[in-house]
Symmetry: C2
Subunit: 422 residues, 2 copies
């Protein structure tokens, strides 16, 4: 490579064999018989993969910092020591029956970017960092993503330390036990911008044959508990006109929810995932139904309108059919809109590296959602087979894995020019 | 009473205080704190109430016979020893949380009829009998009604003897243990006609303010197991157009079933009482649904048409939505049509005793359904509060209880004239 190419960096690329080898190697820590990973936060397996990451950091001459939530940062210096770092990252913990890519891919691709920058001799003005967030999944310590939540000031460290797993072990205690309670107070680490690369965990990119998703934000999400109370009755002796069938009304409400969701555009997601019926007997007209509703939309105003519309229509349907109805909101997460400039850097990086790209909204939560509150943030998605995630069969194609890592590399390089211009 | 009244019997009536007292007294055998009865077949409590019935038989000078299924018959002689008996009856066993009327009322009212006939000196040509069928409920030994089933030749005694309760005790063994395996081979007992008096176990009579239901038959019943297989998917990342939501399709099918049932007339009953969803998580689009369907109609041809229509429409809906669908019939019971002459005797008896009366089809199974296969049969219903049955709160009004018993008395007296005319 001549000096010019090095400076513009247009030909720079990650070393794909070592990225793929890292994915295979780290999959051993908690690897399952079915080819997935069980690596719950702050377990022995989590410590092993953290130790492995530390070894890689040392090998490429990076500086490792661990903060008080166990978040690991690996830093390559930039040419201007006064500038805050550009940070890439994701998480190395998994679901109990997780796959080899969810979170892991973003960390290992970030590592491959650090290596590409370091080995090429290409000099960034900003420091570049990789972060491994603690306990993104929330499988052992609920809720999900609380370490980036503490980092962003949305949750206090004290609250987080007191969260317990099913065995009663607190997060703080588990962190001490694996030796990853670091010295740096969580949240005091400067970040100029944050980029997170991830598998889509949905079917859109694969179905469209698009390699890169430029993630514009994270959907607003609301969870509800719906209850219907009618009248338990004998299935053989009770005429239709005398029934108050809670399940039949629930069926009408489910269809109405779907129609309202569809009428609010294709970005609306409405899902009834749980339904329980009482008494639950073949020859008894159901007296009670409890069901869940998961509502999502990229826009807070639209999700509020959808909720309002469902409340009104469901109450009307229930009343018509003599059914008592309640709809309780049990969880709410506002929409996250990523930094338009950062998203544009991702689009351009995709274009520069010759990849197809489309805008996409994340349907799942990510650490980037919290980071978006405190610094310019964007995410990059690649396809995953059948949209499958949180599953041992989770799969991403090698070509897409490498393409995504190169888009991350070029987005970060472009961010170096974009932020704090000389 | 003068000789003329005695002979026509128009003024004959049951002794209401003793009927109501019998109901209260026998409710002690297995009585529950909530005012119901737990008297499972062939338990100590069942033996106690059987012994009590035997004592009553002796007190009124009746002849007690117990058959090889434990069915108890109490006989009053008629003036013509060559004629087979007119039989009234029901059952004294209950559900685990049963009420004081289901079955019990028919037996104790029959006892009050025997007493009325015996004490009045009114002479019947046919012998008159009361039967207490063993294990009508089927709560301890499933299925329900198998002792009348053996009596009617629909089930073999050998099969019945081998049926076991949850503790592995066989019906035959339990029958021996309470001393109620009688000498008379079950089914060899002659019956000229059979009348069963029962609470409606549904809301129709109460709602209409009618005291007597002249039961024209028992509905045909069919049970089905419906399965839907779609695609489990992430609720946040999977657009509507890419979903194959088994529960949403199930909702469409439930509404379609209701519409088809309604379009086949008000006698059609269709009930989805059980629904199970996999994986059953708030943020996962359901991949699998299993649900029950209970279908009933008084006419075998109509129920077959309804089934056919549901099969076709459900398969069409499922196919449209990319859902694999199956509908397996797991149980079938044909319609029973009671003897028109016996039903007419009931209507007339209601009229003679000054009671309001309407034709009604039984939505639940009864021993009379098996008896209908081997002899002229009819049933008489009275209202029960809120249609509630199989419940400790089951209730019937004293006035209705007495009215029903008098209709039974006069129907049996009219049957004496109707059958085997001189």
């Amino acid at each position: 490579m001549d000096q010019k190419t090095l400076r513009t960096g247009t030909n720079l690329a990650v070393d794909s064999p070592s990225l793929l080898a890292d994915i295979a190697e780290t999959a051993r820590f908690g690897g399952t018989a079915k080819g997935g990973i069980c690596r719950l936060a702050l377990t022995l397996q989590d410590r092993q993969v953290r130790d492995w990451l530390g070894t890689q950091a040392a090998a490429l001459g990076g500086v490792l910092t661990v903060d008080s939530m166990g978040n690991q940062f690996i830093r390559l210096p930039g040419s201007d020591p006064s500038l805050p770092p550009l940070v890439m990252g994701s998480h190395l913990d998994t679901q109990p029956t997780g796959g080899k890519y969810d979170g892991i891919y973003g960390v290992l691709a970030g590592l491959s970017v650090l290596r590409a920058l370091q080995r090429s001799g290409y000099r960034m003005r900003h420091p570049v960092e990789l972060v491994n967030w603690t306990n993104e999944e929330g499988s052992r310590f609920a809720p999900a993503m609380f370490s980036s939540g503490v980092f962003a000031g949305a949750i206090t460290e004290l609250q987080a330390y007191e969260i317990r797993d099913v065995d009663g072990i607190s997060f703080g205690q588990a962190l001490e036990e694996i030796g990853y309670r670091g010295d740096e107070p969580c949240g005091q680490h400067p970040v100029r911008a944050y980029f997170e690369l991830h598998i889509e965990q949905g079917p859109v990119l694969e179905k469209e044959g698009t390699t890169i998703g430029a993630v514009t934000g994270v959907q607003a999400m609301r969870w509800f508990d719906l209850r219907l109370n009618g009248q338990e009755a004998h299935a053989g002796t009770t005429p239709r006109a005398m029934r108050r069938d809670a399940l039949l009304t629930a069926a009408h409400i489910m269809i109405m929810i779907d129609e309202i969701a569809q009428s609010h555009g294709e970005d609306t997601r409405a899902t009834v995932g749980i339904i329980h019926v009482q008494p639950g007997s073949t020859n008894v007209v159901p007296g009670e139904v409890q069901m869940s509703l998961d509502l999502r939309h990229p826009d807070d105003d639209v999700i509020a309108a959808v909720e309002e519309c469902i409340r009104k229509e469901a109450a009307r349907q229930a009343e018509q059919q003599g059914i008592a109805f309640s709809m309780k909101r049990i969880w709410k997460s506002p929409a996250v809109h990523f930094d338009p400039a950062c998203v544009e850097l991702v689009r351009r990086a995709a274009s520069q590296t010759g990849q197809t790209c489309r805008d996409i909204v994340s349907g799942a939560g990510h650490d980037a959602a919290y980071m978006g509150h405190i610094c310019p943030t964007a995410m990059i998605f690649i396809p995953c087979r059948n949209g499958l995630s949180h599953n041992e069969a989770e799969h991403a194609e090698a070509g897409d894995i490498v393409a995504g890592a190169n888009v991350l590399l070029h987005a970060v390089m472009a961010a170096d020019a974009h932020f704090d211009p000389v």
